[in-house]
Subunit: 373 residues, 2 copies
């Protein structure tokens, strides 16, 4: 049976070129970079430095501004909690959008319990944050704003650059969760004007178990873990060296191949957007139709259960996601879909099709052929 | 030039059999277990379940009692902070030994700032905690005790089983940092009587970037990060699937081969302990000479600088550690060596030789031949 993987927002396969680069760091150059008085540790340290430079280059920042973490969730936790705690004497007000990932949303709720005040910005029916809302919500007490660059469920790309201008003017720290964008579409920190940005290797054909937080030079952060001096003490614990090497290689490849990947993906995405309504009755797209990720199509279908569709397509070798695939701890309807006005009873049943760099037109055709059965 | 790696306490090479097991999970079975409605995610979920059982089996606990983390430091942070916060209504007193790893020591200091009271148990000149001290230090307000199973710098194995009897009797939660023991010497949780235990894959020829916390069924813990439902919400963030698979395989191999590994290592260690004083003047061993890890020898030398020795041996292809190799954020003399009474001016200069399963008698001979030059 043909296999068609269309769930790249959930995770991507690791590029074989990336795995090849990682391999020597398991068995041969296996040292701990904290033990850099001998050759084994020194080689590991050098590899970490090189990868840090590659990840920094992908988003146009300085290598020293990259803090390696293990997951994007950890990077988001560190950013939101760490920046809130480091700035609590300046103010207690935080602003986030209501469609943030759980790692931001639940950290914000936790900070509320600890005495911070959080404003949750609404989005319109396309999923877009209103920049005027951002400006209006900032008070003298506001220390931190966190708006995601793109949303994994509905593919929408938020106006980060415009928000960045506002936060700069108002002197508020601006974090963006770029887990769905960095390595996929151009992410240039100097252009976006953010102070902090999270990214994960598994989004762009790097290995799982490694991610990074960009933090602008000079900005203080409180670490969420205590221990050794790794990552300047901001993220203690032995580095995942093969993972770091893999993320570096994946970042390098993403930078080189990004343009051609996007140019291949957009026509496939737009073919789906054009053809799907002709083939599936009662289909409703979610998220803005053009201000969205290159390979991302999302929708819901009246009278159809998303999870059943995912299961049905799986029997035909096709992997897609339902809105609830991202593991919600409370198993409630997706807060993202509720936010854009999808009726709560269908919020369990939405579909996300996310194409990757190796998908072909035949994959797309195979998908809807089986969808129609 | 011959290469002799004698720094296994810092990290171990990943066993090629482990790497082989991991490989399909990068490029082929690369799914995200949170997306288990399709085959890719389901295969990943199954692999996680199988590895969880193998790690549980290594320390004789139930699979559901294993929480995967990314580093041993993270497991220690989660244990100490998470258990303290979950039990703060029962009491505010915590007991740790003064030779704990930074991830325990600095978390304890942080908890002190947050209103907890911490007692730091002294060790004797051999590095051993006095079990009577443990019993005497427990008050009605004590909620948590953390004593490491073995110390990485001085190799000493603490009387965890005896302490476990006391904590059980006094109804105090007992955590042990078993990062230097699990997968190396027998660690049977039911025998040790601990409630919580941290272990890391890189200690026993598994990959870096994956570790685990054992937590006894029924014990509550507060997670140190917020996000998705992974690991029952106790450690959110996308799982490092190849890492988990690798840790499982390494645990399986460690269980099978442990006896023969130890039987090979103890004579090599004891040869070093017997011969070194004859070959090196002014040598002083640290840690008890028999209540210690199988491949572990540690010492300091009057009038010699540890770091210089490490560098010198490195030119001859030999990797060992100086006392300061474990990255102290404050670059102070090792708190472990200070605790056992080593004069502060030599605390930078101690040596740890840690043998691994693949070291040979020739390696040991090569080591001291070059040591003498």
């Amino acid at each position: 049976m043909r296999k068609v993987y269309l769930d790249h927002m959930s995770t991507t396969p690791t590029d074989p070129r990336v795995v090849k680069e990682m391999l020597p760091f398991f068995t041969e150059n296996f040292g701990n970079p904290s033990s850099h008085l001998h050759e084994y540790g020194l080689k590991a340290k050098k590899a970490v430095d090189e990868s840090r430079a590659k990840v920094a280059d992908l988003i146009n920042v300085k290598p020293d501004e990259i803090i390696f973490t293990f997951t994007g969730s950890e990077a988001n936790n560190l950013a939101l909690r760490g920046l809130a705690l480091a700035n609590k004497n300046k103010g207690k007000h935080i602003i986030i959008s209501e469609i943030e990932h759980f790692s931001i949303l639940y950290t914000a709720r936790e900070l509320e319990k600890e005495g911070f005040r959080v404003s949750y910005l609404k989005v319109n029916k396309d999923g877009l944050v209103d920049t005027d809302d951002v400006a209006k919500t900032i008070t003298k007490d506001t220390i931190l704003i966190s708006i995601m660059h793109a949303n994994n469920e509905i593919g929408i790309i938020e106006p980060i650059k415009e928000i960045g201008k506002i936060t700069k003017e108002k002197d508020v720290i601006f974090h963006t969760d770029a887990i769905a964008t960095a390595g996929i579409i151009p992410v240039d920190v100097s252009e976006l004007g953010v102070d902090s940005l999270s990214t994960t290797s598994q989004s762009f054909y790097g290995p799982k178990g490694i991610a990074a937080l960009y933090l602008r030079e000079g900005i203080d952060i409180v670490s969420i873990m205590k221990g050794g001096a790794q990552e300047g003490g901001r993220r203690p614990g032995t580095d995942n060296i093969p993972g770091i090497v893999g993320m570096g290689k994946a970042a390098e490849l993403a930078k080189i191949e990004m343009k051609s990947r996007i140019e291949r993906l957009i026509p496939l995405r737009d073919k789906l957007i054009k053809e799907l309504p002709n083939r599936i009755k009662y289909l409703h797209f979610t998220g803005h139709l053009t201000k969205r990720l290159p390979g991302h199509v999302s929708f819901w279908i009246s009278f159809a259960e998303g999870e059943s569709l995912v299961l049905f397509l799986n029997y035909n070798g096709i992997a897609i996601a339902s809105g609830s695939a991202c593991s919600s701890p409370d198993l409630q309807a997706s807060h993202v879909l509720t936010a854009i006005g999808v009726p709560p009873d269908v919020c369990h049943g939405s579909i996300t099709v996310s194409l990757g760099k190796d998908n072909t037109e035949e994959d797309v055709d195979y998908f809807w052929t089986h969808y129609q059965r």
